[in-house]
């Protein structure tokens, strides 16, 4: 069997306009979109895309499939689908986006424990349920494509990914920074009436990141 698939091509060095290009790929039951891209890569053209683990853990193969952000490794191949890069980030080549753009607003907010100081004994602590769930974030950046207002070039605002990263720290028992305050500096208040963001692997972003950061003042 064969399936037709349209893939976004963009070559910054050629001067040619970007656009969708059709391919025919072999198709067997159970094939994923990632498998189709690998087939194109091996047998037709070296299209550029990232991937890593084939099992939804590395987060590298997020792209827009039929207009929605999906992990290519977990999306069944169907005849006639369209594959484009994540709309929320600058495109480097074909399906590869500039991931750094999503981290630019975060770096000044230091979403880490600092300095790294290995404890002599692991401390007694309770890990909040929110922290456990939020740490399942694979950093695929797909959620940014579901946010109606995120703009990577606006350094005064964040999107769901950035708020998940801040909420991870907010719920870490040893973090001492004012993460809700930092979220306000990234205009989180506009999220209050929106709540359209979705996580590709099912983390409840609104419930566990947006609402607690909106409600929070200082440490939880």
């Amino acid at each position: 069997m064969k399936a037709s698939i349209k893939v976004w091509r963009y070559d910054p060095e050629s001067g040619l306009p970007p656009g969708l290009f059709p391919f025919e790929v072999p198709y067997q039951d159970g094939d994923t979109v990632l498998q189709a891209l690998l087939n194109i890569y091996e047998n037709e053209e070296p299209i550029a895309f990232r991937y890593g683990c084939r099992l939804k853990r590395c987060g590298l193969c997020a792209m827009e499939i039929n207009g929605r952000p999906r992990l290519a490794c977990r999306t069944p191949l169907k005849d006639g689908i369209t594959v484009k890069p994540l709309r929320s980030l600058p495109v480097i080549r074909d399906l590869v986006v500039d991931r750094d753009a999503a981290f630019r607003v975060l770096l000044p907010l230091q979403p880490w424990l600092s300095p790294v100081e290995p404890p002599v004994n692991l401390p007694r602590l309770t890990e909040p349920e929110e922290h456990k769930r939020l740490m399942a974030c694979t950093e695929c950046l797909g959620c940014l494509s579901t946010c109606p207002s995120y703009r990577h070039d606006d350094l005064s605002s964040g999107g769901p990914f950035q708020f998940v990263k801040l909420a991870q720290m907010h719920f870490h028992p040893l973090d001492r920074q004012d993460r809700p305050g930092q979220a306000r500096s990234l205009s989180i208040e506009r999220c209050a009436d929106c709540q359209k963001c979705r996580c590709l692997i099912g983390i409840p972003i609104v419930k566990m990141a947006i609402l607690p950061l909106l409600a929070g003042s200082g440490r939880p």
Partner: protein, 563 residues
């Protein structure tokens, strides 16, 4: 070509690499860390998140752990390194929490009792676990790296170490802009992981696991050991093709009553829980080699007898609770997830237990070169116990960072060696647009198939010789490459450089596998099927001399000398 100078350069941006980079920076070194992928996207992220550590259960102590490790390694583990590892394993888990990771706690908020698990081969309970599995460790690594003050060079590959008789730098290729940079440095730490990708699609490792560190070390003149030992996990997906090689479990996850059934309907193995990964993987590989495979090329793992006893049903629940059944559900469906339907399984390449030969400061045999994590050899011998790798990479990464920083800071900056670097850089800069006959990916796929067919679990002298001959052919053809034009994110250049390194690593693995005329751990020789302790309680050391691989054997150090 740009040139930059650092005290320490770390090759690899996952568990061992981030640990090494942070540790070296804490010692006052100026550090660069190269990562082929975005930071934190190595095998650590896709691992299950279990860390073995001593001192969390009252009945455990370093001596018990030491014995389990040496037994698990079937006698070939380095006693001094294993001694150090088992005594300091607590430090390994502390480093992870210091970066921001949180291990599972019990109801009192402590790491004890119910918060702990036990993987196969451990006679004591010492398995710490991660509620969001390895994904959370990957996220923590990324955060910690960003906060470390280390220069992070992402999507950058090291393809050549520089220096004569000692390592004084390396050449790095950046995928984003196609540039080559020479990094002059007082010390290089290899933390680049293993070579599971040599067996694609029969691997549960991530794409960058192409064994670069083994090849870099060999080419520079360092010694490697135990390269014949690849650990295969017994249970991975056989179909559909998109998921071949994806991890489904290990012996400890078969419950009390799981059984293996071959394609003829014969039961070939029961009571798998106490068996090692290699024992079970070998049993499956031998069935497949004997022509007893299922239509999908594997055997059936029948877990349904577990549903008939309380203990078996309890095992299902605990496997479900730790998330070990999710892959089976996603790929083989709901009935498989419930143990009602057997899983078609085949072994998958998981971990190189051998690697760059190091001492207890992670120094290689070459001045200025250090190694930590999967790329290093010594701790695991012929096979590896579950949960030991993550602890190892954090602990040894940390130690490598300290030792490399001390070395580099005491030596002062090295002089550049421009001649060698210029020639190598030019070679890479002329790759885009070359119009030869062979695409790198086509040769890579041929090498991967060759490794699975001839240098997999079950090996023969004839097959290994054929493999080495075929590697010569692939190498000849790799001098006639066809590579697309353009410099921005040209993945074919990375593949060309990786192919060169994969060939070197593959050759070392096949050469050592040919040398070892016995069967042990994940290395099964059909022509020498017995374990031969009288002649083979030895490590095989491999290095390069005048463009040829040389090997010698060394007796294993008696364990009582390990202090």
């Amino acid at each position: 070509m740009d040139t930059r100078s650092y005290d320490v350069v770390v090759v690899g941006g996952s568990g061992a690499g981030v640990s090494a980079a942070i540790s070296a920076a804490r010692e006052g070194a100026r550090v660069a860390m190269l990562s082929k992928e975005p930071v934190g996207c190595g095998n650590t992220r896709i691992a299950f998140g279990g860390f073995a550590g001593v001192g969390f259960s009252p009945d455990d102590n370093p001596e018990e752990f030491f014995r389990d490790m040496l037994a698990g390694g079937e006698g070939l583990g380095s006693a001094p390194l294993t001694r150090m590892f088992t005594e300091e394993s607590r430090q390994g888990v502390s480093i992870a929490e210091g970066m921001g990771h949180i291990f599972r706690r019990d109801e009192d908020g402590e790491v004890k009792g119910k918060a702990l698990g036990r993987a196969g081969g451990h006679r004591r309970t010492r398995g710490l676990s991660s509620p969001a599995q390895g994904v959370s460790v990957g996220g923590v690594l990324h955060n910690a790296a960003l906060g470390s003050g280390v220069d992070i060079l992402e999507e950058t590959l090291a393809f050549r170490l520089l220096g004569q008789g000692r390592v004084t730098g390396l050449l790095a290729f950046n995928l984003r802009d196609g540039s080559v940079t020479a990094l002059n440095t007082g010390a290089v730490i290899l933390a680049s992981g293993g070579a599971g990708w040599l067996y694609y699609p029969h691997t549960d490792c991530v794409r960058p696991s192409t064994g670069d560190g083994f090849a870099l070390a060999l080419e520079a003149g360092a010694e490697l050991m135990g390269m014949e030992f690849m650990q295969f996990l017994p249970f991975a997906v056989t179909h559909p093709s998109s998921f071949v090689g994806v991890f489904l479990g290990e012996p400890s996850s078969t419950g009390p009553h799981g059984r293996l059934v071959n394609g003829k309907g014969e039961t070939v193995l029961t009571n798998m829980r106490p068996k090692t990964r290699s024992q079970v993987a070998t049993a499956i590989a031998l069935q497949i080699a004997a022509g007893n495979a299922t239509e999908h090329g594997g055997v059936e793992l029948d877990l349904s007898p577990n549903l008939e006893t309380p203990e078996g049903r309890e095992a299902w629940k605990s496997l479900r609770d730790v998330g070990l059944l999710e892959q089976a559900r996603l790929i083989y469906g709901e009935r498989a997830y419930r143990f009602e339907e057997p899983w078609d399984v085949c072994p998958t390449a998981h971990f190189n237990t051998g690697g760059v030969r190091i001492d207890s400061s992670c120094r290689s045999t070459l001045e200025g070169l250090y190694a930590a994590g999967e790329v290093a050899g010594g701790v695991h011998g012929a096979d590896r116990l579950g949960g030991t790798a993550l602890t190892e990479i954090f602990l040894f990464g940390w130690k490598a960072g300290q030792a490399a920083a001390a070395h580099a800071l005491s030596k002062g900056p090295p002089g550049a060696g421009p001649g060698e670097a210029q020639g190598q850089a030019k070679r890479v800069e002329t790759l885009p647009g070359v119009r030869g006959n062979n695409r790198p990916i086509a040769l890579t796929r041929r090498l991967q198939k060759l490794m699975w067919d001839r240098v997999g679990i079950v090996r023969t002298e004839e097959g290994l010789r054929q493999a080495l001959t075929e590697m010569d052919t692939i190498e000849q053809q790799s001098s006639d490459l066809r590579v697309r034009g353009g410099r921005v994110f040209n993945t074919e250049i990375v593949e060309a450089l990786e192919l060169e390194m994969m060939l070197r690593t593959a050759r070392a693995m096949a050469t050592c596998a040919l040398e070892r005329r016995e069967s042990r751990g994940g290395h099964i020789r059909l022509d020498c099927p017995e374990k031969d302790d009288a002649n083979w309680l030895k490590n095989i050391i491999v290095w390069k001399e005048q463009d040829r691989l040389k090997t010698r054997t060394e007796n294993v150090q008696p364990r009582e000398d390990a202090r």
